[in-house]
Symmetry: none
Subunit: 457 residues, 2 copies
């Protein structure tokens, strides 16, 4: 069988595949920090070169932010688009890393070899699984496994500001029959999974301003409005005692989970104690009347991601600050509309601003609704079987707590559904210090794509 | 009358008094910056020489930091100590000064002549008012106005690290019947004032820790405990809707203001609208049932001086942080005990820490109780009458919202009360560029001390 030859080629050339991934990981492509703009461009150029070496016709397309990598190649009945992102999260706090985040290395982990670096799992390691599968296929067959478009973004970790305009401007070039997105993980670190339900996201950053300057707490303490108190009260009021979000109308467009999915999810026997235990916790802290899987896959949230104000350095400064700041994000589900949630939140905050204070909303607010895929397309079941073969256990349709807004845009702008398949593990520490990707994820990930492409492309 | 002769001498020799102040102002005695250590020593030596020229026996006493100037002289029934400080604040940002901060000059201000220099008001101009009064007195009478000890510190602007050990080691030499401290101002720039009540202070810094690392809000949002929510709830609960602090027992040792003081303070007709208006505010925000002067002089506070946690940089990071931090300080009044307030606060916080969270208290907590002078000593009323005569309007006993720790140490270590009398004005720009001292403050300050000494020494 030719698939066997491709799989053998993947196994033989794994060291070369790793060398290429290491080269990409060395580029500090942090998209949210302007200081790393040249590095983002460098990562895009590296990918263009690599895609051309596989036989794609590739380019780095300029945007107002970081470039998009677009490549085309191959022939086939079905036109398939593959999506990944080459940008990474910031690395702070740097002192918690056991090594330079941009000096990748293979280390021995408790469960086998791991690739340690920022972006190893999210998403450079994952996107390279697809490119390496294409490379091995082309080597064995002399041509790509199907009619493919590769689309790699450089702004996924910074809100994808250029994504919507780029998809709209390049609709003809990018609209395919089906999308493959590699930015998710195995369920419970072992069960191969196709994500069919993703939470959306909307973010708000605001400042509460009181006095025109910082005040001495001896001269003004007890008399002047302290914006840190105002901010604390607002953030404290986001939830009631049962974990329910208090912004009016927040749950209006939230659907209950269909019984079939509820049963599938129950069958997964999610080890929430282990999931929480991995990060030093033991007790579910969200809505009192929901199961842990529901909370992270199918329930909306309001979370404070950052807050700050006043003196935060070493020692003490008895200051009443003029300003307090917060970043708050909402995970969205079902039919929740980001704009509607934003508006409701702003109105709710505004109603709590006392005399002498004003609230300033910061620009750059983005939002994406939840994505719920139609699994009627036979490609979904074909991919599930391919994954079951590679991993030796039944693959599952699952939900995802994180947003992958691009899946929603592929549907709304390009009219195609997406299959989200990835090989990350819960302990990959993505967005945190000491991010890693299991060598096993990388290796079986490459092999998984070869099997999937053999069935659907 | 001999007092008249002293006052006349003060008026006649004002130019000479100014020349001496100018000489002292030319010495850049910035105590916090080691580069100016020789200048601090030079200022101390200059004062020793000047005190000896008046008839004191003076010395610059070495400390691990800058020297203390100690002088003794005169005879009298009551031993009185005078305190001031010869060190000054740094001058940056230098570009905002209209002249070299250490090249003093008499300038025409909008309300009369001013002395412009770093330290003109805080505290060289103020301490020289007392020395010049002694000099004129000695010239007229042939001897000092009473049994006096002069104690001039050189580290007041850098946290007074040597003060407590020095007071303890020289207790016998420095313990007097009463202290005079010249480091405060006129009320509202016009009303002569004796500060008899200063708030104390205690500070707490703590961390609330939940997960062992920062979490991705997509993977854990809605399920895992967010310490920013816990911190917000605690800080929001510090006060009730009427501004009352909610820590149990917080008001146990808080006395109501005596009616006599309440009436005096009401007579001051404090312009709280102007005071708040200066910093862009308009409405008192503290305890609903207290007057603005009460709030800043005689009521205890709980203020958040800093809080932080999660992602606070540019852009957004949808993280659930592992930790949240806050710095909270309490202004204390009456008989409130810093240690008791600390313990009550810690217990109150601990009771609110939910499952999976812990609270970590940081070291370096200091505390000082409020200073409440016993105005039963007739010297207080005598000084009030002297000030009333000199300034042509009724002098007042006032409070101070900030701490002047030396007054507390004089009480706790040396067992003496202090009268805080000064002639600074709210627009003196102490600690800021373009510091000044009104010539009127200097001239009437000298005359005020002559009158006070005539009555109490």
């Amino acid at each position: 069988m030719t698939l066997d030859a491709v799989l053998a080629r993947i196994d033989e050339t794994l060291p070369d595949s790793l060398d290429r991934l290491m080269a990409l990981l060395r580029i500090p492509s942090i998209s949210t920090d302007p200081a790393f703009k040249p590095d983002c461009a460098r990562a895009a150029d590296w990918l263009v070169q690599d895609l051309e070496s596989i036989g794609f016709s590739a380019r780095a397309a300029a945007t107002p932010g970081h470039p998009m990598v677009v490549a085309h190649g191959g022939e086939g009945a079905r036109h398939i688009l593959f999506y990944g992102h080459y940008d990474v999260q910031p690395v702070d706090p740097l002192e918690l890393w056991t090594r330079d985040p941009f000096d990748p290395a293979i280390e021995d982990g408790p469960k086998g070899k791991i690739i340690r670096a920022r972006g190893a799992s999210d998403d450079k390691g994952q996107l390279m699984t697809f490119l390496e599968a294409c490379r091995a296929w082309t080597h064995v067959h002399g041509s790509l496994p199907g009619k493919l478009t590769i689309f790699l973004e450089g702004e996924e970790e910074s809100g994808s500001p250029s994504l919507i305009p780029f998809l709209k401007e390049n609709q003809g070039e990018l609209a395919c029959d089906l999308a493959l997105i590699c930015d998710t993980g195995l369920f419970d670190g072992a069960v191969p999974a196709i994500t069919t339900m993703l939470r959306g996201l909307t973010k708000a950053e605001f400042t509460i301003r009181a006095a025109s300057r910082d005040l001495h707490s001896g001269m003004y303490g007890g008399l002047a409005r302290n914006p840190l108190h105002v901010m604390s009260a607002i953030l404290a009021g986001l939830h009631d005692g049962t974990g329910r979000v208090q912004v009016p109308g927040f749950y209006d467009d939230v659907d209950e989970l269909p019984d079939t999915l509820r049963q599938q999810w129950q069958a997964l026997a999610f080890d929430h104690a282990g999931y929480l235990g991995d990060v030093g916790l033991s007790v579910p802290a969200g809505e009192a009347d929901r199961t842990p899987l529901e909370m992270i896959w199918s329930r909306p949230t309001a979370e404070v991601n950052g807050m700050w104000g006043g003196y935060t350095g070493a020692g003490f400064k008895t200051v009443l600050p003029g300003e307090a700041h917060a970043k708050v994000s909402f995970r969205l589900v079902s039919r929740q509309d980001p704009a509607k949630v934003q508006a409701a939140f702003r109105a709710w905050v505004a109603a709590q601003i006392p005399a002498d204070c004003e609230v300033i909303w910061h620009d750059g607010i983005e939002g994406a609704p939840a994505s719920v895929m139609s699994i009627a397309d036979p490609a979904f079941e074909a991919a599930r079987q391919a994954l079951t073969e590679e991993w030796g256990r039944p693959a599952a349709f699952v939900g995802a707590g994180g947003s992958i807004p691009v899946a929603g845009y592929f549907k709304s702008i390009l009219g195609m559904d997406a299959m989200l398949i990835g090989f990350g593990r819960d302990d990959d520490q993505i967005h945190s210090p000491n991010e890693k990707y299991d060598l096993d994820s990388f290796h079986h990930g490459i092999r998984s794509w070869a099997r999937i492409l053999a069935r659907i492309a």
